[in-house]
């Protein structure tokens, strides 16, 4: 059974009882089906020759809701702030939702100053919002992709002329997995940081290459990304970046949901812990 083999026939009105939000859904013609995935609400309506999809987000990025409701009327879609139409031939009324990792690197900033002492290796659990991709299930044509919560932009680089546009987030830098809340719209990345040199490593910022990470789901329903391993280099601001192969170390039996957006680069030195802005 693949990760997206779940299918729900929601031609009848009402709530759909399902553990995960991704997978295929049959949507009754003309009626609106609505998914509440954390702070994001997505509504889809199948009309003759087109899909009509609307979405909107609430301000709370940590809202933890997962609900699917079918059989709503058109007004529920028209209330949404963003509505788009997608022309499509064929009679299929199946839509597929898939989770995706962010499309740019994520710069996570610890809420409190955080230091990795000399010779230590720690695993930090960093959360990031998932993107929701919608496909016409019959022919796998991409309809749209939207973030469950749009993080703020940030600049990561040595100067304002040189660097990279990233997403920003705040991190509690949790060291215990059980303390990481399980949310339908967020993925957890285990970041293994090694500090082999005889000097404490202050983590001012942590840049994670989200576009190079695939997604997994563990037995308890938590969404994971590939592990990220960062090893501090001596006498340099750069760190050796390695992306774990296969399932995350903390969820060995996790099933892969999607591949990375771009092919991961192996063993390269990156500016991962700080930029010159402080």
């Amino acid at each position: 059974m693949t990760a997206f083999s779940q299918h729900s026939d929601i031609s009848k009105p009402g709530s759909v009882d399902r553990a995960q939000w991704w997978g295929s859904y049959s949507v009754a013609e003309k009626s609106v089906t609505q998914w509440q995935i954390g702070p994001l609400t997505v509504g889809a309506q199948r009309l003759r020759g087109e899909w009509r999809i609307g979405h909107q987000s609430v301000d709370d990025p940590l809202a933890n809701t997962w609900r699917c409701t079918s059989g709503l009327d058109t007004a529920s879609l028209e209330q949404m702030t963003n509505i788009e139409r997608f022309a499509i031939s064929g009679e299929s009324n199946e839509i597929r939702l898939e989770p995706r990792a962010a499309d740019r690197p994520l710069v996570s900033r610890p809420d409190l100053p955080f230091h990795v002492l000399p010779g230590e290796e720690v695993t930090l659990y960093v959360g990031s919002p998932l993107w929701v991709a919608a496909y016409s299930a019959a022919d796998s044509k991409a309809l749209l992709e939207i973030p469950s919560h749009r993080p703020s932009d940030t600049w990561f680089g040595p100067t304002t002329g040189e660097g990279e546009l990233c997403y920003a987030s705040r991190s509690f830098c949790r060291l215990v997995l059980d303390e990481v809340p399980r949310r339908a719209h967020r993925a957890v990345t285990a970041v293994i940081i090694r500090n082999p040199i005889q000097e404490a490593l202050p983590i001012v910022r942590l840049k994670l290459p989200m576009e190079q990470l695939g997604l997994f789901v563990s037995g308890d329903g938590r969404v994971w990304t590939h592990d990220v391993i960062l090893e501090r280099g001596e006498g340099t601001e750069f760190a050796q970046l390695e992306i774990g192969e296969g399932a995350p170390r903390d969820a060995p039996g996790a099933e892969q949901l999607v591949d990375p957006r771009v092919r991961p680069e192996k063993n390269r030195a990156v500016r991962a812990f700080s930029s010159l802005f402080s």
């Binding site: 703020s152 932009d153 304002t160 802005f277």
Partner: protein
């Protein structure tokens, strides 16, 4: 038709006429070849600016070859032409000082590359996207869709601001708050706005700079960063958000106040209250 063919046959083409016709044909073919070459060169992977330069250069080379060939057809020795070119340059230089100055400035612009085709630049009072960098002038398309031609000599002499050279830009918003307001609270409100606006960069951090005590307000500069593509969006959204948020938090954005004071030695100015609704007879 027969009489026309006979007439043409009867014309005795002198050698000179044939040479002139050949030269003209060669030059025309040169123009066509240069045009075709400019269009067909497979340079799509290069930057538009480099494409422009290479296409121009290739075109001029082809035209130069055609011209030299045409001169040879006319029996003009190239050596003599090149020798005369020096003298000609001096003469032309005097006659066309401005054009030559523009030409040389254009070469400097192409080498120095302070901007390239597609950049948005500001020169004197003109702001627009660079459409082309020619040998004599730079053409800008302004945001209200006008074409501005700026001679290269002016470009070299003027201050040119390239608005899209760096990937991110800072927007400095001037905002005034009433003297009664708590500046710490104002700062918190502004920082919260920057934090909530997804296109406002978290880093470089937003800045609040105290500008001074104004006539009617405490003046602050609120500086926020955005990518160059989202700069206008941020500029509009953040100003609207500041106004809305100040209204919500009861922070006053004052307008200029004028106090009338008659001096300590005189009585206060008399003030008479006129009823809002006056009877028709009183008007």
């Amino acid at each position: 038709m027969e009489w026309l063919v006979e007439t043409l046959r009867s014309i005795t083409w002198t050698e000179q006429v044939q040479q002139i016709v050949s030269a003209v044909v060669i030059i025309l073919l040169g123009f066509v070849a240069a045009r075709v070459l400019r269009r067909r060169l497979p340079l799509d992977r290069l930057h538009p600016q480099h494409q422009l330069i290479i296409r121009r250069f290739a075109g001029y080379v082809v035209l130069g070859i055609a011209l030299a060939w045409a001169l040879q057809q006319l029996g003009v020795s190239l050596g003599v032409v090149l020798g005369a070119a020096g003298l000609l340059t001096v003469a032309v230089g005097f006659a066309a000082q401005t054009s030559v100055s523009n030409l040389i400035s254009g070469l400097f612009l192409m080498v120095e590359q302070p901007f390239v085709v597609g950049d948005v630049i500001k020169v004197a009072d003109a702001t627009g996207e660079v459409v082309s960098i020619d040998l004599l002038s730079v053409r800008l398309r302004t945001f209200d869709n006008l074409l501005v031609r700026i001679p290269n000599e002016s470009m070299i002499k003027s201050n040119v601001t390239n608005l899209t050279f760096f990937p991110i830009r800072r927007f400095d918003m001037q905002v005034g708050v009433a003297y009664k307001e708590d500046l710490a609270k104002v700062g918190e409100v502004l920082m919260e706005l920057a934090d909530k606006n997804p296109i406002c960069l978290q880093e470089p951090k937003p800045l609040i700079i105290f500008s001074g005590f104004g006539d009617s307000a405490i003046n602050l500069q609120f500086s926020v960063w955005a990518t160059r593509e989202k700069f206008l969006d941020l500029r509009n959204s953040i100003q609207n958000a500041v106004k809305r948020s100040f209204e919500q938090h009861g922070i006053e954005i004052p307008f200029p106040h004028r106090s009338l004071y008659a001096g300590s030695a005189t009585d206060p100015l008399p003030v008479r209250v006129i009823a809002a609704e006056q009877s028709p007879q009183s008007t």
